[in-house]
């Protein structure tokens, strides 16, 4: 879990991890992840939805499934649409969706190729209580299945409680780091908070 103030470098670090931005120095790798295999590419949820407004929810998921060589793209898209609770709206254009629904389709897109590494930039943005509970359960399942999840969050929440390691960064530098849970983890997540 990445914590830190606005502008501390969380998003930049996640974009470097997603290989969208090239690092000016050094190298970032995830042990066990094979970047050249389809599911070795990270699943990334950013501030933007990263899906097309002019396509329907289903068309978006099928598009990204096909691009990433997912077996039976239509079935995978249908499965994820049911998971994120958008199956009833599968034929609606994304531009007609609310903020929360957009976030759900963004998460579904990131999961479409069953990635072994997940990068989430404030994934709970726009989600209602039910959505946050669903996301927390989904993340727990992914972690149990052996997936690596790196996410940025502001403060404590149902999702931050899942963290096995918390790192607080400020101006691109680590200022607090813990592998422990409970109070120690909370202290890192809220480090420096007013």
């Amino acid at each position: 879990m990445l914590a830190g103030r606005n502008g501390s470098g969380k998003t930049t670090l996640l974009r470097i991890a997603a290989q969208i931005v090239l690092p000016t120095a050094g190298k970032l790798t995830f042990p066990g992840a094979a970047p050249n295999t389809p599911n070795g590419r990270p699943g990334y949820v950013a501030h933007a939805t990263m899906v097309y407004d002019e396509l329907s929810a289903e068309e978006n998921l099928v598009l990204f499934a096909k691009l990433q060589n997912v077996d039976n793209p239509a079935a995978r898209a249908e499965h994820l649409l049911r998971e994120v609770g958008l199956f009833e709206r599968r034929d609606s254009l994304v531009r007609t969706f609310s903020r929360g629904m957009r976030q759900r389709i963004a998460i579904a897109r990131a999961l479409i190729h069953r990635p072994s590494v997940l990068l989430f930039d404030e994934p709970a943005t726009g989600l209602d209580r039910l959505g946050i509970t669903w996301l927390a359960n989904a993340l727990r399942e992914m972690h149990r299945a052996g997936g690596t999840i790196l996410m940025s969050l502001h403060g404590e929440s149902e999702i931050s409680a899942l963290a096995t390691r918390a790192v607080h960064i400020d101006a691109g530098k680590i200022v607090a780091d813990t592998n422990a849970g409970g109070a120690s983890l909370r202290s890192v997540l809220t480090f420096g908070a007013a």
Partner: protein, 224 residues
Amino acid sequence: MSLRTNTSVLLGKELRTEFRSRELLTTTCVFIIIVLVLFSFTVNPGTEQARQFAPGLLWLAILFAASLMFQSCFLREQVNDTLSSLRLAVSDAFSIFLAKLAANTLFLLLTEIVMLPIFAVFYNIPVLPNLPVLVLVLFVGSLGIAITGTAISAISAQARMRELLLPLLLLPLLTPVLVVSSIVTAGLLDRDPVVQWKGIAFLGVFDLIFLTALWLFGQYFLEE
């Protein structure tokens, strides 16, 4: 996944989004018709003067319409940061360019299909006698414009003054295409038509060189 499959999937997406909104095609067609009609007021239809200047005006109109079309080519991908999701999804970034290039060429040719009869009527120049060669010239010329335009669109989309930067970079680069296409088209529309195969070959070589450059350096245009 192969380059061909990725390209065809992305081309399908380009066509679907455009035919759903029809923003680009409608705007470009209306623009090119306005330009041709306005230019037609400056020459007497059917005269030698019209035959002399009309091919140049035709290609200028195509060039202006194309630069309008390319403005939104990569800009559209920035609305929801979909360019990043494409870069994460495809194994070869060249497929993004190939799909956009194919879509741009197709849209440009569709605009020309609408434009050609209007051009023939307003300038009183028969285009049917040498139509197959004229279509070939329009294709190789439009392909050159689309290749260069797609590349420049990717570069300028990340710049601050992108609306100004695209025509500033594109128009000088396309001067050879404009000059040669106009000369070859003038030869075809002449009272004694001549097919200038050397000019057509030049356009083909131009396309090949710029496509190779796009293949070699395209991925760097997409980096943040």
